[in-house]
Amino acid sequence: MWKDRSRPMGKWKPPPGNAHIQFRKRLAVLEGTILFIVLLIVAQLVNLQILQHQKYAAKADNIQFVSKEIPAQRGTIYDRNGKILALDISVKTVYADTKNIVDIDHTIHVLSKTLQIPAEKIRAKLKEPYPRIKRKVTIEEYDKLIDAKLKGLVFEDDFQRIYPKGILGSHVIGCVNVDGEGIEGTELQYNKILAGKKGIIKWLRDGRGNYLSSLGKTLSLSEQGKDIYLTIDEHIQHIVEEEAEKGWKDFSPHQISIIVMDPISGEILALVNKPAYNPNNPGAYSAEHRRNYAVTDLFEPGSIFKIVTAAAALEEKKVRINEPIHCEGGRWFVRNHYLHDTHSYGTLTFDQVIIKSSNIGTVKVAMRLGEEKFYDHVSRFGFGKKTGIDLPGEIQGIFRPLHQWSGYSITAIPIGQEVGVTCLQATRTMAVLANGGYLVTPHILKDIKTTEKIARQEPQKIGPILSSETLEVLNKTLARVVSEEGTATRAQIKGYKICGKTGTSQKFVGGRFSHSLFVGSFIGFLPLEKPRAVILVKVDEPKGAYYGGVVAAPLFREIAWRMMQYWDIPPEPNDKTIAMKLP
C-alpha cells in the first residue's frame, strides 16, 4: 500500500507561516457555501411543501387521480301489483385509447364482430386519439371483449333502460332518450324522481393506467332514483291491448283509444292507444305512434255527451224520466236549421229519448233548461278544463264560454257537437255516475317508494255534483241502453248489469262535417250495483262500420267480461239464470 513517506507520522502541526490562516479561511468559505446551499434547499423545501403546497398537491392529484362521473341508476317503475314495467340494467360504454392498442387490425376485427359495427366505421373512429366506440354495450358483449384481452380498450359504467313488457303500456310508461332522460309518459312526468343524482369519484391511477377504486376519493356519491308504483294493472292492460288489437284488425281504423278507470279513486287501470310503439326502441317509430291520443287529442263526443244533458235536466227537474217528448218524426226545424234523428221517432218518454239516443228529444229538453243553466252544469263536469292527470301533454278540450255561443249552440252542444273532449274527460264524466256524483282526478301514480316511507297518492274529488235521485234514475236508464231496447246490445254481458252510452260523431274535416269519416265510441261502467270500472272505447275512422254500438261496444264487452273473470266478480243471477263458480 502506498504511503506518503515525506510526512512524518504523529500529531498534525499547522504549516509554518500564515498558510494555516489561509487554510482556515478557505474552510470557513467552504463551510459557508455548504451552509448556504443547505439553507437554499431548506428554503426551497419550505416553499414547495408549505408555501406552494396546495398548488403542487393539486398538480400531483391531477396526475395520480382521475375524476369520473358515477352514473345514477334510474328508479324502477312497477304496476299496482309490484310487477316490473321498466328497470335499469348496467351496461358499458367502450372507448379506445389508441396509443395503447397493440394489434389494430385484430382489435378492429374483434370489435366489429362483437359489437356488430362495420369494420370501416371502427377504423375511421380509431383515427381520433380517444374515440367512443359504442354506448350501451351489454354485459354479454362486454364479457366477449374482456375474454379477447385486447389492449387499449377502456370501459365506463352506464345504465340502459329496459322495458321488459315491450309495447305493453307504452303510452303510460313512456320512454327515455339515449342519455336516460324521460321524454314521454311517466318517464317524462316523473323524471326528477326517477332520475336520481349523478356522483363524482376520484380514482387513484397507477403507472400502467389501472384504476384503484379502493384508494380513491369519493367526492359525491350517486343517488339512485326512487322507484314508483303506477295505478296500471299489468293484466288488465294486457287484456285491453289484446282487445284493441282485435278491433284494429276488424275495423282498420285510423286510431283506437281505450281507458279503464276506477271510478271511486280515479286510478287509471289501463290506458291503450293504437297505433303504439315499443319504448325499447322509440326512434324506430313516428311521432304518431308515440302520441298519447287519449290525453293529447280531442274528439266530438256525439251522443255520449247526452249523459251530461240528461243529468243536467234531471238535476234541475226540468223533465221527468217518464215524461213524453215529441220527437218530430226524426226531422225538426229549429234555430234556422234542420235537426235529424237516425230513426223517425214520434213521441218517446225521456228515458226512451236517452235509450234510443234521439237528438231531437235531447235538444228539446236542453232548451227547457236554457243556455245558462246548461252551461253551468256542463262546466261542473269539468269540460273545457284539464282533468289534472299526471301525464304530459294533456289538453283542456273545447268548451266555449257562454258569450261565444251562437244561437245554434244550444241545439248542438247537448248532443255532443261544437264541443271537443278528451277521452279522459269523457271517462271522468261516466265515473261521476258510477261513484255517487263525485268528479275525480284521474291519475297514474300510486306510490313513490323511498327508504323512509311509502308516499301514497290520495285521490282528489270534487262534489257531489249530482244528487242521488238523479243518479239513481239516470243509471237505471243507462242500464237499459245496454239491453235489447237500447243502442248498445253488443255490450251486454250475461249476468252483469252495465250502464253505458254509445256515441257516433262525424269528423270535422276541411271546415265541414265529413260523411265518410266517423268516430264510434262507447262508454260504460259495471257492475251497476257496485261499480268497479269505467271503460271508454273510442274508435277513430273505422272502416266497414262506424256506429259506436257496432265498433266500440263489442270491444267494451270483451274487456269487461275478461275483467270480471280476472277480479272474480260473480254474475248476478235472476229468476231465469243461475251463476256457477267453475272449478
Binding site: 348496467s90 377504486s213 243461475i578 256457477m580
Partner: protein, 109 residues
Amino acid sequence: MKITRRKIPLWIPNIILGSILLLTYVLLTCRITALGYRIASISKRYEELKSWNQYYKSRILSESASGRIQTKAKALNLSLEIPQNWAVREIVHVERSQPSHGKVEAATR
C-alpha cells in the same frame, strides 16, 4: 477484575429504530397497495356479476311477458284459453210425460 461497559453512541439505536419504523411503513404501504389492487379486482368482479344478474332478470321478465308467451303459444300452435271463473246458465224446465211425484226438476244450458 473490573468490567468496563463500552458505551454505544446514541445515534446507533436511533438509526436502528428509525429503520425499523421506515421498513414497517414501507411494508404497510405495499400491503395497502396490494390490498387496493385486490379490492379493485374483486369489486370489478362484483359489479360484473351484478350486471349479469340484472341482465338475466330483464331477460326473464321479457320472456315471461304475456305478449311474448302468447306469441310463442301461437307459433307452437298451442291454445291459450284463459279459464273462466264464472258461468251463467239459463234454467230450463224439463217437460216429462210422467208425473214428477212432487219433485222439482231443472236443467241448465
